[in-house]
């Protein structure tokens, strides 16, 4: 039985349609991420699941109950906010006890639950302090603690790491993952950071302009994106898009596009993509990490194509070297190991991993 089912959900704010028919579901114990740029509707969707926003049309089921009109407190959910939303005038202990007190749970049981959760999150020394006396990471853990004492059917996270600095964010991300492995509750996690979505979730819903563009496992979303938006949103630096044409070369299907300084690159296609295309014009998608310097190793690998391109900018980051190359009239970003780093100005011989490249229809923007 699915822990959460959202069917054809629509939401209007006045004349503006913010959610245009959303269908997602989460199995018990699953961790799903709602990811997308600002304004895509993910926070609205979460608020509707929580009961903080009304439903214009569609259904929300938690467990085997339809909860469209059920008040938030009766939906058996817990939520962690971006701003943590800790009650400023209460101590950490009182913050965690507030929900249980509102339900009339006996004091002994409250104390026991708080002790257990505090131990789990390692916030025991903070119990007597007020939120104003805590650091960002500590507040985040208290917010999670407040959600955990509820022991709900569904956990909701609304961009909980956005207010933390970069290093803390990475640490807390791991903690959340460990916590989910320990506690195993169904979780819906909203973020605009696709790295968080990829590392934490078992399934990702990529949203854009009020619609779910793709709802699939991270591997599928990353390597078999449903459309240009998903392809461009997931992965950093983002996928390169090149206008190209499908032709044949000696009977084999290739995709061609102009090179800088004249001439045409001709890259063979695999995976039967050429057969499925209805148009000769396509958009070719190549991820930065699929470019590398030609070598004996790349020559031996199946699915690799070769071409050359001039290198314009080189950005070494230590662990790898990014470079901007010119394909025809476009700039393309590549990700190289520092041992084979490109040099500015060189006409670099490239190996392109065509087995992983994606083709998109230029009009529908869907993957072919």
């Amino acid at each position: 039985m699915a822990s959460l089912t959202v069917r054809n959900l629509r939401k209007n704010f006045g004349a503006v349609e913010v959610l245009k028919g959303v269908d997602i579901e989460a199995q018990t114990g699953e961790f799903i991420a709602l990811v997308g740029p600002s304004g895509c509707g993910k926070s609205t969707l979460l608020a509707m699941i929580a009961g903080l926003e009304s439903v214009t049309s569609g259904e929300i089921w938690i467990g085997d109950r339809m909860v469209n009109s059920v008040a938030p407190k009766d939906r058996d959910i817990a939520m962690v906010f971006q701003s943590y939303a800790l009650y400023p005038t209460m101590t950490v202990r009182e913050n965690m006890a507030f929900g249980m007190e509102s339900r009339g749970i006996p004091k002994a049981q409250q104390a026991e639950t708080i002790a257990r959760v505090a131990a789990l999150l390692q916030i025991e020394p903070l119990l007597a302090r007020k939120p104003g006396q805590l650091s960002g990471g500590q507040r985040q853990r208290v917010a999670m603690g407040r959600a955990l004492v509820r022991d709900p059917a569904l956990f909701l996270f609304d961009e909980p790491l956005s207010n933390l600095d970069a290093k803390l964010r990475v640490d807390m991300r791991t903690e959340i993952k460990k916590l989910h492995q320990r506690v195993g509750k169904t979780t819906v996690y909203v973020t605009h950071d696709q790295v968080e979505a990829m590392t934490l979730a078992s399934r990702i819903a990529v949203m854009h302009q009020g619609q779910v563009q793709q709802f699939d496992e991270p591997d599928a979303v990353y390597n078999r994106p449903a459309n240009i938006f998903v392809a461009g949103f997931m992965g950093s630096p983002s996928m390169n898009f090149i206008q190209a044409e499908i032709t044949t070369d000696n009977g084999k299907p290739v995709v061609t596009f102009p090179l800088a300084g004249g001439g045409t690159a001709s890259l063979p296609l695999f995976n039967g993509a050429a057969e499925r295309a209805t148009n000769r014009k396509v958009v070719l998608g190549i991820r930065p990490e699929h470019l590398s310097r030609q070598s004996s190793a790349t020559a031996a690998k199946p699915g690799m194509a070769t071409m050359t391109a001039p290198v314009e900018v080189v950005e070494p980051t230590g662990a790898e070297t990014m470079a901007v190359l010119r394909f025809g009239d476009r700039e393309v970003v590549g990700r190289f190991s520092p041992d084979d780093a490109p040099k500015t100005g060189e006409n670099m011989p490239l190996a392109v991993d065509m087995s992983r490249a994606c083709l998109f229809d230029p009009t529908t923007e869907k993957r072919i």
Binding site: A50, G51, L52, A71, P72, K73, D74, I77, A78, M79, F81, Q82, S83, A85, L86, Y87, P88, T89, M90, F98, G99, S102, R103, G132, Q133, R146, R150
Partner: protein, 301 residues
């Protein structure tokens, strides 16, 4: 900042101080010199005009021995207590009502706040008419059938103070409401949502989450209302003119009376100093508290 040392340059650097000097001088005179002057007169033997023979605390002694001053002071205590508390309660109630996503909110707000633009003189005058039993509220209620209803507070020696209290509350509730509403709105919306998910009823959310967050505002409003109550003058003059008899005398009307009607400016000045003392009792601890709290916040960061 670098600059030459010519007279012109030096003058330019001193411009801010020169510009503010007259304002500072006037404020200094107004705040300190005038108070000192009045203090001196309260210690002098002035009657109709200021004279400067030193009389020590005699004026204060006669002040506190005067029955009328006793009435004024006890009126002030009673009035302040009821006025401050009830004005805040009514203001809070109106603010809570308006916080419930009301339609035409600015209409309601305008209705409750227009008395702020009206002088206490006007309010006192009009309410005096309303308290008149032959044409005001009592007349209305009687003519609607409840012939036993009595509401002639301003002619009732014992209860006239209530007329002042009620009218004062009517005038000021809009003010406290505006401040409380701003305070309620300043509470982080996410905290309220978290409380809703936590299972608290609306009442519990207000009691345990929202209202505790705005306790500094409660304090500030109470202080502002209290210092206004201490200065009550216009209302008492326009509504009852300290009457009937002397039953609604206030310290401020006492001052006016003794200074300008009876030619006893020494005692009047003493009464004025007592008003200043009452204000200091309210404002000095509050400003010290504010300074202490500010220092604590800075230290924490």
């Amino acid at each position: 900042m670098a600059g030459g040392n010519s007279l012109w340059e030096r003058l330019k650097r001193w411009t801010p101080i020169l510009v503010i000097a007259p304002a500072v001088f006037c404020s200094f005179v107004y705040v300190f010199v005038f108070s000192g002057w009045t203090l001196y007169i309260s210690l002098s033997d002035s009657t109709l005009l200021p004279t400067y023979g030193f009389k020590g605390l005699d004026n204060y002694a006669s002040l506190w021995a005067n029955r009328r001053w006793g009435v004024a002071y006890s009126n002030l205590f009673f009035f302040s207590a009821v006025y401050v508390l009830v004005t805040m309660a009514v203001g809070l109630l109106l603010a809570l009502l308006l916080d419930q996503k009301i339609r035409a909110e600015s209409f309601w707000r305008t209705m409750y706040m227009y008395p702020l633009a009206v002088s206490f003189i006007v309010t006192g005058t009009v309410w005096q008419w309303l308290y008149n039993p032959t044409s005001g509220i009592q007349f209305l209620v009687n003519s609607l059938g409840w012939t036993d209803f009595e509401f002639a507070l301003t002619t009732d020696r014992k209860n006239a103070i209530w007329a002042i209290i009620i009218t004062g509350i009517w005038q000021s509730a809009g003010f406290t409401m505006a401040l409380f509403l701003a305070g309620l709105r300043s509470v982080d919306g996410d905290i309220v949502k978290a409380a809703q998910i936590d299972g608290a009823s609306t009442f519990r959310i207000y009691r345990k989450v929202i209202l505790p967050s705005i306790t500094p505002i409660f304090l500030a409003v109470a202080v502002v209302q209290l210092q206004a109550a201490i200065k009550t003058f216009d209302l008492a003059v326009a509504l009852t003119n300290s009457g009937p008899g002397i039953s609604t005398t206030f310290p401020a009307t006492y001052v006016y009376d003794f200074m300008f009607q009876r030619g006893e400016i020494g005692q009047g000045a003493a009464a004025a100093m007592m008003i200043l003392a009452a204000l200091a009792v309210v404002l000095v601890p509050y400003s010290l508290y504010l300074a202490w709290r500010r220092r604590r916040e800075v230290a924490r960061v």
